[in-house]
C-alpha cells in the first residue's frame, strides 16, 4: 500500500515533486509574510515607546493604534 502510494505506478517522482514544490512555496511565503508583519509591529511598538506623554496620548486616541499595540504584545 505504502509502496504504491510512493511509486504511483512510476509517476511518483513527478507527482511528489509537484506537491512538494507547492507546499514548500506555501511554507516559505507564510513565514516570510509573518516575519515582515512582526518586524513592522516591533517597529511600531518601539516608535510608540519613544513618544512623549502628550504625543502618546494623541496616538492612543486612534483605535487602530491600540489594536496594533495589543497584537504586538502577543508576539
Amino acid at each position: 500500500m505504502i509502496n504504491e502510494i510512493i511509486s504511483m505506478n512510476g509517476y511518483g517522482v513527478y507527482v511528489w515533486s509537484a506537491f512538494s514544490f507547492t507546499l514548500t512555496s506555501f511554507v516559505t511565503l507564510y513565514f516570510v509574510t509573518k516575519l515582515q508583519l512582526s518586524k513592522e509591529q516591533k517597529r511600531f511598538t518601539s516608535k510608540f515607546g519613544s513618544l512623549n506623554a502628550k504625543k502618546a496620548k494623541v496616538a492612543r486616541l486612534q483605535n487602530i493604534n491600540k489594536e496594533i499595540l495589543l497584537n504586538a504584545s502577543k508576539i
Binding site: I5, M8, N9, G10, Y11, G12, Y14, V15, S17, A18, F19, F21, T22, S25, F26, L29, Y30, T33, K34, Q36, L37, E40, Q41, R43, F44, K47, F48, L51, K55, V58, A59, Q62, N63, I64, N65, E67, I68, N71
Partner: protein
C-alpha cells in the same frame, strides 16, 4: 460609499481573522491532500500523473483571479481616488505571483510524463509566463518607486495593461492549436471531468483560496501598520 471599508474600522477584524483562516486552511488542505493523493482514482489515459492537476489547476485559477482583482482595483483606484484600493492590491499581489509560479512549475512537471517535454512555447504556457512577468513588474514597481502617488499610478497601469492577457490565457487553448488540453470544467455547459475528481479539485481549490486569503490579510495588516508608523513620525 467606501467609509465602512476604512482601514481604521476594519483592522480590528483583519488582525484577528488570520488565525481562524489558518485553522480552516489546515483542515481543507489535509482533507484535500488525502483525497488528491490517496482516495481519488487514476486517469484511464494519464494514470497517476493526473494527480498533479490537484495543485496545478487551483494555482492557475487563483493566480488569474487575483490578477483580475488587481486590474479591477486599479480601475477603482483611478475612478474613486481611494488609496485603500492600492493597499489591497499590493497585499494581494505576492500570493498571486506565487500561485502563478506554482502553476508554471507544476505544469512543467506534468508536461514531462504526458507530453514528453518539460517546456513548450505553446500559447497557454507562454501567456501564463507573460502573466508571471506582469506580476514581477507589479511587485518590483512597489519596491523601486518611493513616491506614493507615482507608484500607485505605475502599478495600476501595469495591472490594467496585464489584464489584456487574461482573456488570451483563458481562450488560448480554443483560439490556437496548443499542446495544452481544452478546459475540462465549464460553468455554462457540461463538465468532462468525473465527480470523483471534481470533489478533490474543489477541496484543493478551497484550500488554496483560503491560503491566499491568509497571506492577503497578513500583508494587508503589515501595510496598515507601515502607514501608522509613518503617522507616528508626523506626530
Amino acid at each position: 460609499m467606501f467609509k465602512s471599508f476604512e482601514p481604521n474600522k476594519i483592522f480590528a477584524i483583519t488582525s484577528k481573522a488570520p488565525k481562524y483562516i489558518l485553522f480552516l486552511f489546515i483542515i481543507f488542505l489535509t482533507v484535500g491532500l488525502t483525497e488528491a493523493l490517496i482516495l481519488s482514482p487514476e486517469d484511464y489515459k494519464q494514470g497517476d500523473a493526473v494527480r498533479i492537476m490537484y495543485v496545478h489547476v487551483p494555482a492557475a485559477w487563483i493566480s488569474l483571479g487575483i490578477f483580475s482583482s488587481l486590474a479591477l482595483l486599479s480601475v477603482g483606484s483611478f475612478v474613486f481616488k481611494n488609496k485603500n484600493f492600492a493597499i489591497i492590491s499590493k497585499s494581494l499581489a505576492p500570493s498571486g505571483f506565487i500561485f502563478n509560479i506554482i502553476a508554471l512549475v507544476t505544469g512543467s512537471i506534468w508536461g514531462k510524463p504526458t507530453w514528453g517535454t518539460w517546456w513548450a512555447w505553446d500559447a497557454r504556457i507562454t501567456s501564463m509566463l507573460i502573466l508571471a512577468l506582469f506580476y514581477a513588474m507589479y511587485l518590483l514597481a512597489w519596491r523601486i518607486y518611493e513616491d506614493k502617488d507615482q507608484v500607485i499610478k505605475i502599478t495600476s497601469m501595469i495591472a490594467i495593461l496585464g489584464a489584456v492577457n487574461i482573456p488570451i490565457i483563458k481562450y488560448s487553448v480554443e483560439w490556437w492549436n496548443t499542446l495544452h488540453q481544452l478546459p475540462s470544467i465549464n460553468v455554462l455547459s457540461n463538465n468532462s471531468i468525473d465527480i470523483s475528481m471534481l470533489i478533490p479539485l474543489g477541496i484543493m481549490t478551497a484550500a488554496f483560496a483560503l491560503f491566499s486569503l491568509l497571506i492577503f490579510l497578513m500583508k494587508y495588516n503589515t501595510e496598515l501598520i507601515k502607514v501608522k508608523n509613518k503617522g507616528l513620525d508626523r506626530l
